[in-house]
Symmetry: C4
Subunit: 275 residues, 4 copies
């Protein structure tokens, strides 16, 4: 039946664009091509900021057009097969659901800047900034790599603690910025112009980046700076501790689940395995 | 009864200013307004260090006056309802107990600098420094965020170990400062003037900030600097390890408590759940 | 029998060049000499970049020749005794297997640059770069130190998670480089020439190195830089958390194995040891 | 009896200079005085590098003399009571054993530089360097603080793994220094003079200090620098992971010991406590 063939093609396309069964060579090749094109498009964005001769420019523009066309086709294929992704919805609802999912919005934003300029005239700098969105294509890797979700889960579970520690850092930064301003402004009014300069210094010191464009020269400022730099160590240590604990908890949860499911079960008396 | 109505209002105010039952919309709105005002007052403090025209200045002064009035009213409400916070004390004792609690002192210090200048004339720079205390208002968030207490508990439990490791760093810093002074002073007497310069270098190197305003140029100084910089890695690694262990211990304590309370209990023989 | 004596010598050589029984003094001395020669050859490579007078030059050339000769003899001895390393293969196969093992290739690359120039004329700079391969000799320590393999196992087990986190950093870096270019290029076109300059800045900021050769001066650029620097903390925290969890998991696996083998077995009722 | 009184005094002195019973007020005051004097003597060492007027100089010299006298008396008291520390040895043996213990050597080195100049004339710079040894007095705190030993135990237990990771870093540093020299020397021969300059750069980059006195300017050098800076993250992450695991293992060992000693023992069936 013709109808059946059509459905078969659709299923095949769905298998190719979404994660397929293991051993599906065509789907794997498709994934590799998409990843390669994403990397190329990233190079094209970066290249667009470099001044090159007209020939190279044209080559990169052609490359850009090519990647956008492939991504557009991919986007269309994903929308077309969205009803297979959400089989419990009606086809229309499934597609809408897909279009407004995070990944699909990123996909759309990745191709839109290419079609946009033909409708609305915009100045070049804004356009260039819009092009950055293309880089979001790279997040498509998210679909392919599995471990990212583990990291994501840990960060989510520990979210409140991480945000709390970031909040403490923010408070510390504000206090530090006003204090360093008070210490340093009379001595170097050009460098520490206001508390915003102090904040820029606080960021560079607490994160231990230390560009060297702004630093205290008074004794009080240096002592205060030493305290802030040492507290900056805590800024690394506390989130690291939180995240470490999160990863370890997850491993233990997995072990507990395994034990519950009877996969690994040792007698506490003699250490032998029990069926 | 009139007396009863008065008590009801007091209870309501208490519910609003302190953490209320879940689902209390008015209390939630109050919290959000207070947080917003704290953030605004932080901006006002930072802005006070920037030179602006007279109109903007006046706008920020008005903003300042407004936030201080709200915080004063809040402070008064908290003192008024303090007897509900400590129901086992007499009203007078409860209020005194509240006034001398850490949070209330911060609240008072946050509003005092505004009223202070009308009584005692002080020079502007000292005043500006006193304004920094306003930022302490931000610690009120402590009341609202829960995870901070977990972090606090871990830091407290591991306190002795953290202080010990900080002490070792201090000793290292003193030794490093004298040694680098000995190496570098003959070559760059202007940069490494004395052991205090050496200490400033030691802080920048051990915390890996590295502003670049002071660094060794002799071979001995560079070799010594390399050793100190590598030890600086340990300066991060040891407290991080301590804090990580603290967080993990806390998670395990919670698990143990859950098991003790019979919430999760698995047979060690077969992994099945036991009532 | 002569044949037997020959085999005995071969066995002895094998014991000496490979890890021997504990208490074998000759083998231990051999190991120490080899480690010393590797360190000397590293010094020779570094020295080759320093301009010295002709006498010192000749001394180092002699030293170089000596170490290469010893390493060549060692390499020959290892190939000769390779059939004892793989007793299940034929002698020829065993030797081929050894020659194409990772360690043997490093050994060969360590001595080849010395013999190479006599066959093919090459320019001096390339030769100097080839000499770097000599440093790979140092990896021979790998054979002697045991703990390295534990670290290796942890990094391998956690490989996917580490690569995922590195990938996220790469994406972040590309986005950051284009955005900072957009912010800073109009203000400092000489410093932020193109997105590649932005990427160099992103590396220095995210890794908290902060050389200070490139940093934002606009307000938007500084705010963005602060966000990136704070995310740089995460860049340290996430892999550290992953690696910590890996080491802890390994310790627990060992404990579990010990319990399984009945080495340590406590009654869960009373805490007493059970045979 | 007179003999007995003498022994009593000795015992009392021993209790005071060594760690005494809890509640011993005199011993506690002695400890605090010694700690204060150590801190003062550290200030004196640092001050000796600052140029001050003759009066201040004399004040600090007097302070120095005073602390050295107290430390000498303390050292004498410790040697005198050493036979009570090692009651199983003869008095002479006990004293020799004490004199050659690590702590006693540090104590001696802390006071020797004061008496030294009266016997052998030495130039001032060497003397100044010898004074640094005085700082070793601070390690006496080791006797008083307890948590340091926990940190020490963890570092010792994990010693092999930490040394292995440091070794890998050393190898990486040597390779990096030669490669960056090869990349950068042709472009900036003044900055990257030889592989030693490269090594100085490698230290600053791998430890993320980044003074900014030396950094690559070529494209190849920058790409290589980015890789090294990212590997520098691992330089922090691996030892941190090792140390974290060490602290967690220690906590678990303690828990296991507690369970073994029957302090905390819960039924695995119902979570109730068992006597």
């Amino acid at each position: 039946m013709k109808m059946n063939t059509w459905l078969k093609i659709k299923c095949r396309v769905f298998e190719i664009v979404e994660i397929a069964k293991p051993g599906d060579v065509v789907s794997k090749i498709f994934d590799i091509i998409i990843i390669a094109l994403i990397l190329i498009s990233v190079v094209v964005v970066i290249e667009s900021t470099v001044k090159v001769d007209i020939k190279t420019e044209r080559f990169f523009q052609a490359l850009n057009t090519f990647t956008v066309i492939v991504f557009t086709l991919e986007y269309a294929a994903r929308i077309w097969t969205a009803d297979l992704l959400h089989p419990d919805c009606t086809p229309g609802k499934a597609r809408l659901k897909y279009i407004f999912s995070g990944m699909a919005i990123i996909d759309l934003l990745a191709i839109l800047p290419f079609y946009f300029p033909y409708f609305i005239p915009m100045n070049l700098i804004v356009l260039r900034t819009l092009r950055v969105l293309r880089l979001l294509r790279v997040f498509k890797f998210n679909r392919y790599t599995d471990s990212l979700s583990t990291i994501g889960t840990v960060l989510k579970e520990r979210g409140y603690q991480l945000i709390s520690s970031i909040f403490v850092v923010m408070v510390l930064m504000v206090i530090a910025s006003v204090l360093i301003y008070t210490f340093e402004n009379p001595q170097q009014p050009e460098v520490f112009q206001n508390a915003f300069s102090g904040m820029w210094w606080a960021v560079a010191t607490l994160t231990t980046v230390g560009y060297g464009d702004i630093y205290p020269i008074t004794i009080a400022g240096k002592i205060f700076s030493a305290i802030i730099a040492l507290l900056g160590i805590g800024l690394v240590a506390i989130p690291t501790g939180i995240i470490s604990a999160g990863f370890i908890e997850q491993i233990e949860t997995k072990h507990a689940q395994n034990e519950e499911h009877g996969e690994k079960c040792y007698c506490p008396y003699c250490g032998k395995k029990i069926k």
